[in-house]
Symmetry: C2
Subunit: 340 residues, 2 copies
């Protein structure tokens, strides 16, 4: 990083899927960015791409622990803190549920305290999972959710709800200026091939020509937001000055069934792979679609990339990944695990 | 404490209202008890009463911090851990919401890790607040709640939901044997006069002859469990071996309005104090009544003390407190604050 004295944007979780796209967008806007990441679920190639920027630097640390001196010594320069640090796909966040909960609660607390000390604005990446398996549809921000707080998804869902509670407490007490984004399903290039999400699963399985797995009967719905749209929403929210401080849904309100998504993927990849239906995991939501009227009104934001365009770009990227092209080849073990 | 080598029951929050009654009940059953408490909301007189027992000892510490050596060095002897540590009345837990959240999440984590290391059984005192302002009535354990995760009560409600999530994760992963009690409104002697609960508020105000405050129009309902009943339920739950590990409601299912409660208190205290109605606080639940069929089936437990008997005992105790009798006089400043 160049040794300037200007403001710094800290992106916790900046080596992950959304985080690395966010870092790139911030760098493209001229920001000086420090990425803080424990590399738990991120792809090292995401970092290599960012490290080409002079205004980018990386600090390896886990926000569950006290923040490292590399960060603390720059406190006075930090004016924006994005917290995107947490494993977000169920197999990953359920592998160590204690760590998932502590990442959301203790990690968020460490970053909120840094924001307080720095006088920085803090954005929490929360999630549509705070709505659980929703009984209201589409989900508005004032819907309080239908979350099972004792189930295997609770470490993430309740962890994010707890993180939201902490963020708004810091705001209410005047300790830090906070923004809270509730992120719905997001997809795009640089997803981790084996993160267990439906878009990456379907594309990787289709491209590999092996069996394609659908959990449940495929009639459950999701709404998929292309990553560039989501990142634009995060930055718009961070830079907004709303009259009332409330969480804001960010996602694409176009709802499709998992079977329809499969149809798109089959057509785009031209695969003749066989489709296998397996039981739905516990507490898997049946429907998920954001009401984004608050984001439209407050941020003048809405998604611009259609599913067809976004999926095509994502399929193309995964196709290059799978033939081992360029510098973004996934680690071989990782890839093998994902295409079984 | 006598220097035996037998098993130890650890009660975190054991100097509080319910905690001190629990310690006494355990001591009366012959247990060796260590009380761990930060004395944040507890009354020192609760401890003085317990310290008469040879098998009782007290360690002052906050479970948000790493557990003290006084506890850790006895790990191998600890076979039961009750976690009752958290301020539980809204004015108290909202005074430092960050600490409230960390008490529930980090504190519970510290005690769960101790349970794992010790091979001890762990009981979490959760709360009816996990149901928020419930839309289902009465509340069964499978009702997922209606909690505002961004409001001023969230530090407690979401903190407890997060603590439940952690406890069941430890159980699912075979790290510790856990029990989770969802405690509904509880009252009785040794309540803190100024903890802001409706029973203590009404009795103290009635006895002092000053204005009596009702928040809302008094038609909201509560269900009040006498503390001896609640403690019997906690011990029964801890010692139970249920086939399925699930949270268990503990409370009294007899539901009355706050106005009816006021009627009882006015009659018992013979006061002619004036009643003043004030606005309901944000997110205050309108109705609250436990469905205790799970506790009845699994624990053969149900409350035995009627509201008339329990209130009479509580009024008598507060009356002695307020005239400054015995060794359980509240601190003068505390008392003044409560009867304004």
């Amino acid at each position: 990083m160049t040794d300037r004295s200007g403001p710094i944007t800290l992106v916790a979780g900046g080596a992950g899927f959304i985080g690395s796209h966010l870092c790139q967008a911030l760098l493209d806007r001229g920001a000086t960015v420090i990425c803080l990441d424990n590399l738990q679920t991120s792809r090292p190639v995401n970092l290599r791409r960012l490290e080409r920027y002079a205004e980018f630097s990386f600090v390896e640390a886990d926000i569950v622990n006290p923040l490292p001196l590399d960060i603390l010594e720059k406190t006075s320069r930090i004016d924006r803190i994005y917290n995107l640090a947490c494993a977000a796909s169920p197999p990953q966040y359920q592998a160590d549920p204690e760590h998932t909960m502590l990442t959301n609660v203790v990690g968020t607390d460490h970053l909120l305290r840094l924001a307080e000390r720095a006088g920085a604005r803090f954005l929490l990446s929360s999630t549509s999972e705070v709505y659980g398996d929703p009984e209201a549809h589409p989900q508005r921000e004032d819907y309080r959710g239908w979350v099972n707080c004792t189930g295997p998804r609770a470490c993430y869902d309740e962890g994010k709800r707890a993180a939201e509670a902490m963020a708004f407490d810091f705001a209410r007490m005047g300790r830090a200026e906070v923004r809270v984004a509730r992120i719905f399903n997001t997809y795009g290039p640089q997803m981790h091939p084996d993160d267990g999400r439906v878009v990456s699963n379907l594309i990787c399985q289709a491209l590999s020509g092996k069996n394609i797995t659908i959990y449940g009967d495929g009639t459950q719905t999701r709404s998929f937001c292309y990553v560039s749209d989501l990142v634009a929403g995060l930055i718009a929210l961070m830079e907004s000055d709303p009259e009332r401080n409330e969480p804001v849904n960010l996602g694409n309100p176009v709802e499709i069934t998992v079977n329809d998504l499969l149809g798109h993927v089959l057509a785009m990849t031209g695969t003749d792979a066989k489709v296998v239906y397996k039981p739905l995991p516990i507490d898997d939501p049946r429907r998920r679609r954001p009401d984004i009227s608050r984001a439209e009104a407050q941020l003048d934001w809405r998604p611009r990339v259609s599913l067809e365009v976004g999926l095509a770009a994502t399929c193309a990227w995964f196709a290059e990944e799978l033939v081992g092209g360029r510098d973004c080849t996934p680690e071989p073990e990782t890839l093998r695990a994902s295409v079984v």
